[in-house]
């Protein structure tokens, strides 16, 4: 058991080291969300105002961009296991006495940890770009960010554990990350959209994560996702994302142990 936790720590430590040392990644982790916030905000600002009267566009966009940052970072860090394989480093890890499940959970911890750091960076940026935050909102957001990042890191790892080459990486970007992002209500509210879009977005677990984040942010001004006539509250959405995350994580561990 001690070895198991030791393995998690060693692997996660390397992920953090990468994050801290990679300047380009640090800078892009700031600029990307801000860019999205400014451009999408300017573009969709009025539209969203019409769709949801009384809601400020920035207040609507910001939680979405926050979730997007967490989503991108988590999945990407998870998939980075493909890089480790391609550059041979995975072998060094695999012949070491580290525990296999610990290696995978370490990766997940690292990925989630980095995503959480990104989320915190976003929270720090908020007042600068003119989003109003209260301590209550921040406290409510942090557990949601953690849950979402764990679930999405697990997804990234599940994909990464099965993928053999970097070529598959681009495909993952296009077939998994972008659809998940666009079908989650990050950029536009999912009320009153075409039925097929609504169905797809309700299958997408990210939708619930973002919805919970947005509910914390905007309070009762937005209604939760309605599924089979039931409107999901913050806790329910969070639990759903957590459940999906645990299933994905178990799947990733199983898949990794089986193949390596």
């Amino acid at each position: 058991m001690k070895k198991f936790f030791h393995s998690i720590w060693v692997i996660a430590y390397r992920e953090f080291l990468h994050f801290i040392q990679d300047r380009a990644r640090m800078i892009s982790s700031f600029t990307m969300p801000v860019l999205f916030l400014v451009i999408f905000g300017a573009g969709f600002g009025k539209l969203i105002g019409q769709m949801m009267p009384g809601v400020d566009y920035l207040q609507f966009m910001y939680p979405g961009i926050l979730a997007m940052t967490v989503l991108m970072t988590s999945i990407m860090s998870g998939v980075s296991i493909v890089w480790d394989r391609e550059f041979g480093f995975l072998k060094e890890v695999l012949v070491s006495p580290l525990n296999r499940s610990g290696i995978l959970l370490g990766k997940a911890t690292g990925a989630a940890g980095i995503a959480i750091m990104q989320g915190v960076i976003m929270l720090v940026i908020a007042p600068i770009v003119g989003v109003s935050l209260s301590w209550g909102i921040v406290l409510g957001l942090i557990p949601l960010i953690i849950i979402l990042s764990i679930a999405l890191s697990a997804l990234g790892l599940l994909i990464g554990a099965r993928m053999r080459s970097q070529q598959g990486f681009q495909l993952t970007m296009q077939l998994v990350i972008f659809p998940m992002m666009f079908l989650s209500g990050i950029f536009f509210p999912l009320t009153g959209v075409a039925t097929w879009l609504e169905v797809l977005s309700k299958i997408n677990p990210v939708t619930y994560g973002i919805d919970a984040i947005r509910q914390v942010f905007l309070g009762s001004e937005v209604a939760g996702v309605t599924i089979f006539g039931h409107t999901m509250g913050i806790a329910e959405s969070a639990l759903l994302v957590l459940g999906v995350g645990i299933v994905l994580l178990i799947g990733a561990i199983w898949s990794f142990n089986k193949q390596e």
């Binding site: 030791h6 060693v10 390397r14 550059f87 480093f89 060094e92 695999l94 070491s96 006495p97």
Partner: protein
Amino acid sequence: MKVIKVKNLVKRFGKLEAVKGVSFSVKEGEIFGFLGPNGAGKTTTINVLCTLLAPTEGEAIVNGFNVIKERDQVRESIGLVFQEPALDDYLTAEQNLRFHAYAYSIPKETLEPRMKALLEMVELWDRRKEKTNTYSGGMKRRLEIARGLLHHPKVLFLDEPTLGLDPQTRSRIWNHIHELRKKENLAIFMTTHYMDEAENCDRIAVIDYGEIVALDTPDKLKDAFGGDVITIKTEDNDKAVSLLKNQYNLQPSQENGTIRFTVPHGEEFLPGFVSGFPIRLISIGLHRPTLEDVFLKLTGRAIREQEADQMQQLFKRRMRMRGH
């Protein structure tokens, strides 16, 4: 004491039998070489011994531990240098070593002096703060050797330790290996397809198509070869070959316009042969058998033919890794 014991090891990938029941053992402090062409089963055997692959049949014991049942103990007993670099290029040399130390739970007190000693041995101490993506191929390999030794393994596995390196770097790496053996009483299990490198080994197993075809010291392998190698070029090679077969009772082989055959006591054979051979000779040569000759005789083909192919593959892979 035997640090590696392998008995009837078989590894199948689906229908393909990569290793067909090999048996051998490696003594403490010995340099043991696996010599064979690409695809002979060298790397597969290493992967089984270092617990990356489970054997299909047979038994392998490393440092007294079973590679299937006692994986963790085996992993702690071995150091590995892979055919392809396995460094984290985003980290510095020192950080790479530290990661390794954490993974193997090396206590801090022993780590610091050990790290310094090893980095000094491979002459990288001054560059330890640099990221490894600035390192050349030879430097990376040296760093990996240092890393493989950090946790005081009983056996160091070197899979083609000098593949793709220039001659100076190769001989430098060999100096390190010899130095190591003196200092650490460590067994070294290596694979190679460079004949001159195989000469550095205490014992060599020649492996081909997943089977060990010969296993002995380099000298004994050459002695068992049966005499000296004579190479000739003639004006009519085909006729010469049949003549050598029928009238001289020799077993000549022809390759790239050169005929080669083996005779005991070559010096005494030559004068009579030159004056009596009916076909005009263009050139004639005599040499003591090399491992290359041994290999050629045992497997019926030259290892050099495959080498070009292998380098090409390696080059392609490197290009792909850079994203070209």
